[in-house]
Symmetry: C2
Subunit: 383 residues, 2 copies
């Protein structure tokens, strides 16, 4: 096991009916800016629950934060928060709204041009206090310190981390899933699955509990995802999904282990260049990564085959190939197309992505050995 | 899954060589009281590492905190801390030293007689800041808000919880295990195992990830404990053990599930009356609890048999009985005797324990249905 330092101060408030607790969770003397996305919270009743809980608080609102939250939009909110002298941010939405709100919180305490801490990730160390009401299980942003923001004018999608951006609390009411479009459930399941894989399927470093925990989330997702795609009104399945998404990226399964993140880094470029959903980019890229990198990941792929898919028969290579196939089939079973050609993406884009990593002098993967030319190989594999 | 609220602010600093980080982790302007136990830290070099790391800090020391920390001893430390105007406590030891230090931290900010918050657990809400350097994996006190203190003059062992007692940080260096007496390793493994069982082996409430996580710790312990009993110098086995002990009682596996704790409550009385090691009391009582309560715990016992022990053959009853036997055998394989008669404890003690629970009007267990007469049955079962 590797040495590590871990701390996660976010308070999780989980379960049906918990949105009403906002009244006690948000300090009553704060001027609150509620941030949200395209307005689904008006249809599913969550907006009304939030407003009812905060009826004795001073509340402003900023809507319209996009999927893959846009720098320009967020900067408008920054200006409004300054004007209103806001001192508490409440994100009501999915990962994009929460990520965007982390950017707003950081920008509000940042002296220079906020583009700086995105272009050249640097510890910012400060932020306005923020909290979240989660409506879409997927990114884990509700219980971590990370954020991803896009700037369409530059076709860029960039991330930053700020310890001051751990939400003070996050309310997770699984009934929010009842009204989600199936596509968002599928994307959220894939995002959660790949988050786990990025921290699990690397090399063996004898972290026994962490391996079992990662496998526990994967097995849960494999079990409940088909059920959720059929019926998204079973409370326990919704609760297990929402819980899995948060546990997949709050640091719990990352302690003392190597991590990969190549798929996220490559997928991010597909979103920046073509606007693909985050979950879709992961479903496309991941089978390529584990196919091309299967020698580096050999031991863990075998463990994954045996312990997650219960593949007992065949040679090691057969088990590994079967596990890679089953992984891709799981994504397609959720209705997601997983070839670049399904999205009319070809060599031009592949070469542009390779050029970008080349320019940045980036190497990816748990061994730092995924070079730009291997990124080309990975993307050609999933063309 | 049940509704829940979770928050754990402790910073974990894990791995070999991490004690040196004390110099940066403890604020330099604090007057620190280092608390410790019987002096094993002088033999294993941990005392020297702590002192070297804090050579530029103002440091006082208080040693002699007993296993099952004693009220009278702790009150002496409280007096010394007041006299020296201490404002930071650093526990260097196992669960007893850390628990004792939590009591000291709370007593130092408590207006009345500190016995009050032990006799009648009440939220105290305040405490001097404290941190820990862990030397014995077992109780999980290094990453939770609980504490158990004994008062031998009354033959009492009582617990309290205080959110201000989460350690600010805890340093976990697995090499501390290299010099532990085998008995302490055995006790620590059993304590960790039963902590997991108290949160896992209740009734099924469809918390999929939590079940897998609990089972992951149990399977890790079953795998590494025999290896550690033979050779306690394998770093990764030590790391997996220390990690398991912390994860077993930091709230991670308790989210959204029912919990039992009958074994701890009954075992506590055996320590209070006969001075038995905490781990030993659990190994004695637990097989009695799951035997007597097996109908209430039926579904989970079956899952435990199948998923933890891989018992595939036989009827459900046969699987359950086999799992109960294997659990008891695991404890005895660690060199612990698990009958009351092994410790010359008989009906007098059983009746006194029943009387105590009767007097307190306590019922135990996840269903609140373990009455004093059932406690008698459990203890008779393990006589």
């Amino acid at each position: 096991m590797n040495n590590f330092i871990f701390q996660n101060p976010t308070k999780l408030v989980f379960g049906k009916g918990q949105i009403a607790r906002l009244s006690e969770l948000v300090p009553s003397d704060k001027k609150i800016m509620i941030t949200y996305g395209g307005g689904s919270i008006f249809k599913n009743g969550i907006y009304d629950q939030v407003k009812a809980a905060l009826k004795n608080h001073t509340v402003y609102e900023f809507g319209g934060i996009e999927p893959n939250p846009e720098y320009e939009t967020l900067m408008k909110c920054v200006a409004e928060c300054k004007e209103k002298e806001i001192d508490f941010l409440l994100a009501v939405g999915g990962g994009s709204v929460i990520d965007g709100t982390k950017f707003i919180a950081t920008a509000l305490t940042w002296e220079g041009d906020p583009w700086e801490f995105l272009r050249q990730p640097i510890p910012t160390g400060n932020a306005l206090p923020l909290a979240a009401v989660l409506t879409i299980p997927a990114t884990g942003s509700e219980m971590n310190n990370g954020s991803v923001v896009s700037r369409r004018e530059f076709k860029e999608k960039l991330f930053f981390f700020n310890d001051a951006c751990y939400p003070k609390f996050s309310i997770l009411d699984p009934t929010a899933i009842y009204s989600l479009p199936k596509k968002q459930i599928a994307n959220g399941v894939i995002d959660t699955y790949i988050h786990v894989m990025e921290q699990y399927l690397t090399y063996d470093n004898n972290a026994s509990v962490q391996d079992y925990w990662a496998e526990g989330i994967l097995k849960t997702l494999l079990d409940i995802a088909p059920k959720l795609m059929k019926d998204q009104h079973d409370y326990d399945n919704c609760a297990n999904f929402m819980y899995s998404a948060t546990m997949a990226l709050n640091g719990f399964i990352a302690m003392g282990v190597a991590t990969d993140w190549a798929t996220h880094m490559i997928g991010q470029e597909l979103t920046a260049l073509h606007g693909l959903d985050h979950g879709v980019t992961l479903a496309i890229v991941y089978p390529g990564v584990i196919s091309v990198m299967h020698e580096d990941k050999r031991n863990k792929l075998l463990q994954y085959a045996e312990r997650v898919f219960n593949i007992c028969d065949g040679t090691d290579d057969e088990k590994i190939n079967k596990a890679i196939s089953l992984t891709a089939e799981f994504f397609t079973s959720l209705g997601v197309k997983i070839r670049l050609s399904d999205y009319n993406i070809g060599d031009d884009t592949i070469e542009e992505i390779v050029r970008r990593f080349d320019e940045r002098n980036f190497v990816l993967g748990e061994n730092g050995n995924i070079t730009p030319s291997m990124i080309r190989e990975i993307l050609q594999h999933v063309k």
